[in-house]
């Protein structure tokens, strides 16, 4: 074989192996593996990104996930921490008794069992009470802290923010809701039956809300960073600007005793169940449910109302814990660039556009026209949300 032929053969083999490697890397990228496909071919990388984007599909609805889990495994959850999460489950204690034990046991054993059960119930009740009190004491008030006043941010307001320490069993979802109670309307919140089991922080936006919790909750009055405890079974009236904080396990009755509608903005991490609404109660989802993995404890969930000045930019990567974003007013453009700073795509988000729940690295937000843009930003983080300095240019 001549030298030229040998050289061509080597080149052909090298090309083929390079193409095969590029193809394998392409498929790995499609499968979501962290591969550096750009090194092979930028256009191939763009094709992979395009396909992954086209193949994007929503996560399962949290209510569906919880319902199916109940159907498959029943109400008794495995009282064991999943190996892939780090926190303990809080469901039923998982005590399994042989069928018919109470009926066939001798009277003395029954009395002993009853006494033991009573003692156990008492211990659990005291523990629960102490835990709930501890939750209230541990949760600092973050409702007056402003975090991202920067050049380009015309206005920023922390609507609600709280540290959540404990979570209900099952599939969890983060959600921001707005409730409207017409005069005379009632709503039970926080219970599994009401579809709202889980820690909650809420802001009274309008009207006067009467709250009667079945266990202590914390409240803060408008303009005050201090929290006070609202006792169990005692009604308390919350006015516009007041906030309430309810840990997991606390059920409360909300009632509108006034003549004007009550409007409440609520941020919570909840079990995915479907709420049953009473007469005169309206429910709007400010930001739709986002299924989340069981978090390490505690987390801080915060909801901000942010106004972006015309021409200003906000980099998603500079907002720690950015979980969800929704355009309230105006038009927002999300600009995605790759690692080399090249423009990948732009996405326009109008008021009617679905909110965002994922944020690729390199994404920058800017106003879509000459008007300010009003945003709802939700962060979930281990420590202070939005404590970093967003890169904002005017």
């Amino acid at each position: 074989m001549s030298r030229d032929a040998l050289s061509r053969l080597h080149t052909g083999v090298a090309d083929r192996s390079r193409r095969e490697a590029a193809e394998e890397t392409f498929w790995a990228a499609i499968a979501g593996e962290p591969v550096r496909i750009e090194e092979y071919d930028p256009d191939l990388a763009a094709m992979a990104r395009h396909l992954v984007r086209l193949g994007d599909a929503p996560l399962p609805d949290a209510a569906f996930a919880a319902r199916l889990e109940r159907e498959l495994f029943g109400p008794a959850w495995p009282a064991r921490t999943p190996s892939f999460t780090t926190t303990a489950l809080e469901g039923p204690p998982g005590i399994i008794r042989p069928a018919g034990r109470w009926a066939i046991g001798p009277p003395r054993r029954m009395l002993v069992n009853l006494a033991a059960t009573a003692a156990l119930v008492a211990i659990v009740a005291v523990s629960l009470f102490v835990t709930l009190r501890a939750d209230l004491a541990l949760a600092p008030d973050r409702t007056t802290e402003a975090r991202i006043i920067q050049e380009g941010i015309g206005d920023e307001r922390l609507l609600v923010g709280a540290r959540f320490d404990r979570f209900p069993d099952g599939i969890l979802a983060a959600v921001v809701d707005r409730w409207v109670l017409q005069p005379g309307a009632e709503l039970i919140v926080g219970s599994r039956e009401s579809g709202g089991e889980g820690p909650s922080a809420y802001l009274i936006e309008a009207g006067s809300l009467t709250v009667r919790p079945d266990a202590p909750i914390a409240v803060s009055r408008a303009g005050s960073p201090d929290r006070v405890e609202a006792a169990a079974s005692i009604e308390i009236a919350l006015e516009p600007g007041d906030r309430g904080y309810a840990p997991t396990g606390v059920t409360a009755l909300w009632r509108n005793d006034g003549v004007e509608p009550v409007r409440v903005l609520e941020a919570r991490v909840k079990r995915g169940d479907v709420a049953v609404l009473g007469e005169g109660v309206l429910h709007y989802t400010v930001i739709s449910e986002s299924p989340i993995a069981r978090p390490e404890l505690p987390i801080v969930m915060s909801v901000y109302d942010v106004t972006l000045r015309p021409g200003a930019e906000l980099a998603a990567g500079t907002i720690p814990g950015l979980e969800m974003l929704k355009v309230e007013r105006g038009r927002l453009v999300a600009v995605d660039v790759d690692v080399a700073g090249q423009l990948v795509r732009t996405t326009t988000l109008g008021q009617a556009t679905r909110s965002l729940g994922s944020f690729p690295s390199g994404r920058v937000f800017r106003g879509g026209n000459g008007d300010p843009v009003s945003l709802i930003i939700v962060t979930i983080s281990q420590d202070s949300p939005l404590a970093g300095t967003p890169r904002v240019t005017g």
């Binding site: 090309d15 193409r19 590029a22 193809e23 392409f26 498929w27 499609i30 499968a31 979501g32 092979y40 071919d41 256009d43 191939l44 763009a46 094709m47 395009h50 396909l51 992954v52 086209l54 193949g55 599909a57 929503p58 996560l59 399962p60 609805d61 569906f64 996930a65 199916l68 889990e69 159907e71 498959l72 495994f73 959850w77 495995p78 999943p82 190996s83 892939f84 599939i171 983060a174 299924p291 989340i292 993995a293 978090p295 390490e296 987390i299 814990g321 979980e323 453009v333 795509r345 732009t346 996405t347 326009t348 556009t353 679905r354 729940g357 994922s358 879509g368 979930i380 983080s381 281990q382």
Partner: protein
């Protein structure tokens, strides 16, 4: 950040052990369920095109998996679960044909437009459903299973084909995708320029 999306975030470190325990105690399967639910649901959603259909199929898949778990003896739990998913989805598509494909395409198109917005309309109009129509059924399955995160060996198990056959399928799908999307290989571009 301590809270991460469900998809892909939990890592089952000892899945084989977990599966073995689940074969004797169905409650242990709940852990696998939580891990695989987003993957299975999104696979169904991509194939069936609507939330309702995806939820129905997902319910069937996990119900069948739970019932069949005592007989499970495969090498890969993920491949086994996706084999069930593949069969359920194929049945659903067969049952709902032809209206479902039209509905699915329409819904996907609507969804793409909603998510992308008018500024990126051209790209949004090219939905996955439209792209899939340019592929053969088996090429579609390869792409869908890849998007679900499976590797070539697992896809071979799901489709009941040899590894070599699936490698060829991958290559054919790759070539077809490049042609459909108008992406030429870097070498071809160089040849064209020269």
């Amino acid at each position: 950040m301590v809270v991460t999306p469900l998809l892909g975030s939990p890592v089952v470190e000892d899945e084989a052990d977990l599966v073995a325990r689940a074969q004797h105690d169905r409650r242990e399967f709940a852990l696998l369920y939580r891990h695989y639910l987003p993957l299975i649901y999104r696979y169904c959603y991509r194939r069936l095109g609507s939330r309702e259909a995806a939820e129905d199929a997902t319910s069937q898949i996990f119900t069948q998996a739970l019932a069949a778990l005592p007989r499970y003896h495969h090498a890969s739990f993920r491949a086994w679960l996706f084999t069930i998913a593949h069969n359920v989805v194929v049945d659903e598509i067969r049952k709902s044909r032809p209206s479902a494909s039209l509905d699915a395409a329409r819904e996907l198109a609507d969804r793409a437009l909603e998510v992308e917005g008018v500024a990126d309309r051209i790209e949004a109009e090219q939905t996955l459903a439209m792209l899939m129509r340019q592929l053969s059924p088996v090429q579609q399955q390869v792409l869908e299973l890849r998007l679900a995160g499976l590797n070539a060996i697992e896809i071979a198990a799901v489709l009941g084909r040899s590894h070599g056959s699936v490698r060829n399928l991958h290559h054919q799908t790759f070539v077809r995708l490049r042609a459909v999307l108008g992406v030429r290989h870097a070498d071809e571009r160089l040849e064209h320029v020269s």
